[in-house]
């Protein structure tokens, strides 16, 4: 097992390469999820504001 991690002496090059690969791809995969949650939260806040405004003066509907 330790010989597997040693990579024939090239561990210092092989494992960082794999680490970069997975770090970049995981970051890329997760980033739209965060953006999506923020967008939806803003949208909900806007909808809540709109409905509150409509309740206050129902005559001026958009």
């Amino acid at each position: 097992m330790s010989s597997f991690f040693a990579m024939g002496g090239y561990a210092a090059y092989v494992w960082p390469a794999y680490a970069v690969f997975f770090t970049v791809l995981i970051a890329d995969y997760l980033s739209p999820g965060l953006r999506r949650r923020r967008n939806l939260r803003e949208l909900r806040a806007r909808l809540a504001r709109q409905s509150a405004r409509q309740q206050r003066n129902p005559t001026t509907s958009p």
């Binding site: 597997f4 990579m7 024939g8 002496g9 090239y10 090059y13 092989v14 960082p16 390469a17 794999y18 970069v20 690969f21 970049v24 791809l25 890329d28 995969y29 739209p32 999820g33 953006r35 999506r36 967008n39 939806l40 949208l43 909900r44 806007r46 909808l47």
Partner: protein
């Protein structure tokens, strides 16, 4: 006859349809990508024997080469989507083109870093002005230019169309750059780097490589769909279907 295919494609072009379609397909693509990737890594890191020249350092190939392929493949997808976006003004094509760019840039970045990590023990240097490396670097700049142009516009659709135009100029430019860099390399007697010897790759090494290639393709689909879904929600935030989704998610 097979009239339903164009009809289905036409329907798929509408944002709410594609949103749902991408939502169902995305977890499957990611699951298969992880499955294939794990198989490829097991085959590449454990089963495949060490290379007789490069020892174990060659094992970087299993992520380096698929990433390099993906960096070009995604650029081609982006250019095709850009042409569709400019000719037919399809909103979905604009989104696909613009959301492909960051993924492509990520793969190009991975290619450069892993190549550098591979080059250090093999050629004794982190970087050499080899034709392929230089072309890859130029490709990264092309991606960054597209992303930068897209984000410099206030109107997203206008930004997408301008950046799509740049992407098309870029794809004309890629072979020219490659040709000129090759010419430049022969002129200056640069170090021609051979990553793989003239010998053919053995099957033990080839199948993990091809499997990894499939995994990265599936990953691209999964990541792209996630990004496109997010973008569609942001672009259509005034529409009813987005409101319904927002309310549904609030209830959760």
């Amino acid at each position: 006859m097979a009239n339903w295919i164009p009809l289905w494609l036409h329907k798929l072009g509408s944002p709410p349809m594609f949103y749902r379609f991408a939502g169902t397909l995305r977890p499957w693509a990611m699951a298969f990508a992880v499955l294939l990737g794990a198989t490829a890594l097991y085959g590449g890191l454990v089963l495949a024997p060490a290379d007789y020249q490069q020892g174990d350092a060659y094992r970087i190939i299993f992520i380096h080469v698929p990433s390099a392929w993906m960096s070009l493949f995604i650029y081609a997808v982006m250019a095709v989507a850009s042409i569709i976006a400019l000719v037919w003004r399809l909103k979905l094509a604009e989104v696909v083109a613009m959301e492909s760019a960051p993924i492509g840039a990520a793969f190009t970045f991975i290619t450069l870093v892993t190549g550098s990590l591979w080059g250090k023990p093999m050629w004794g240097t982190w970087w050499t002005w080899d034709a392929r490396l230089t072309s890859e670097l130029v490709l990264l700049f092309l991606y960054l230019g597209v992303i930068g142009l897209y984000h410099s516009f206030e109107d997203r659709r206008q930004g997408a169309r301008a950046a799509a135009f740049l992407a098309i100029i870029g794809i004309i430019n890629v072979p020219i750059v490659h040709f000129s860099v090759n010419w430049w390399n022969t002129l200056h007697q640069g170090s021609t780097v051979r990553i793989l010897g003239p010998s053919k790759m053995s099957g033990d090494m080839l199948w993990p490589l091809l499997t990894m290639m499939g995994a990265t393709k599936l990953y691209y689909i999964a990541s792209l769909f996630g990004r496109v879904r997010t973008d569609l929600l942001a672009m259509e935030s005034g529409k009813d279907w987005v409101r319904q989704i927002a309310e549904q998610e609030a209830r959760k």
